[in-house]
Amino acid sequence: MDYVDPIKNASFYIYLSYGLSGFLFCAVLTWLAVCRINILAFRKALEK
């Protein structure tokens, strides 16, 4: 007999949780990297 999940649309809830978390992690890391690039570029400009 095939396995029937007790929760309807279980995969939707799982993908939503991991999708949101993964997106947030990527967004935060990108934001931190962009901030770093900006700071370093500005510092370089100050040194000139």
Partner: protein, 227 residues
């Protein structure tokens, strides 16, 4: 490149988190009662452990340090823990809400565990508002340090909320008297993910802290240039 090694480390940390998720999805059985949806546990619990454990501990230590030896550097360390803590508290609330919808039938309820966690998110936001609204100096360090310590008081309340009050949220199933109730395969995958998320949180904190330090240094340099 030398200045951006920590960003690369953060990227590796993120890849490790994704590997942890893949492991949890590939090598754990489905739950007898909840089916596959229980797998939200592999992001929900590690995010909560990071926010309530690592970030709160970091905030507590830096806040006490800030009170004893006030300095801008230690305040920035505190602020970085607050920001990382806020990210992981938000993820805990979001994934908990999604899990709640699938198993309890509601996105949100004013349950003791949920309410105290929501309060933590509000307090962390309040810390950032306070930090940005005060002028740089010893007074800001003291006020923010006191608030940082007060925020940490909420953490044991969140942890014990499921045993102090009657709640919809399940009781502790990882650290409890009388042994664990989890399957060893599920437990090991959960521990792995808690560990990987803790590493990723620490890396995020390091990057943010360095960004704040560099920004501070740059601001001082530019003022020196003007004067």
């Amino acid at each position: 490149m030398r200045e951006s090694k920590d960003i690369l480390a953060g990227l590796i940390g993120l890849v490790l988190v994704f590997i942890g998720w893949w492991y949890a999805f590939s090598f754990t059985p489905v739950d007898a009662q909840q089916g596959a949806v229980y797998r939200i546990i592999y992001i929900h619990v590690p995010a909560a452990a990071s926010a309530l454990g690592l970030c709160s501990l970091g905030l507590l230590v830096t806040s006490i340090w800030g009170l004893l030896k006030p300095s801008e550097k230690i305040l920035q360390a505190s602020r970085s823990w607050v920001e990382v803590g806020l990210i992981f508290t938000t993820i805990t609330l979001l994934t908990g809400s999604i899990w709640g919808k699938s198993t309890w039938g509601t996105w949100w309820t004013w349950d003791a565990r949920l309410t105290t966690t929501f309060l933590l998110a509000i307090l962390l936001l309040a810390y950032l508002l306070l930090y940005n609204s005060l002028r740089q100096g010893k007074q800001r360090i003291r006020i923010c340090s006191v608030l940082g310590i007060l925020i940490c008081v909420d953490v044991p309340i969140i942890y014990k909320s499921v045993s102090w009050w009657r709640t919809l949220h399940q009781p502790s199933s990882i650290i409890e008297q009388g042994g664990r109730t989890m399957d060893p395969a599920m437990y090991n995958a959960l521990l792995l993910n808690i560990f990987l998320i803790a590493i990723f949180s620490t890396l995020l904190w390091m990057i943010r802290f360095k960004n704040l330090r560099l920004h501070d240094q740059m601001t001082q340099d530019s003022f020196e240039g003007v004067s």
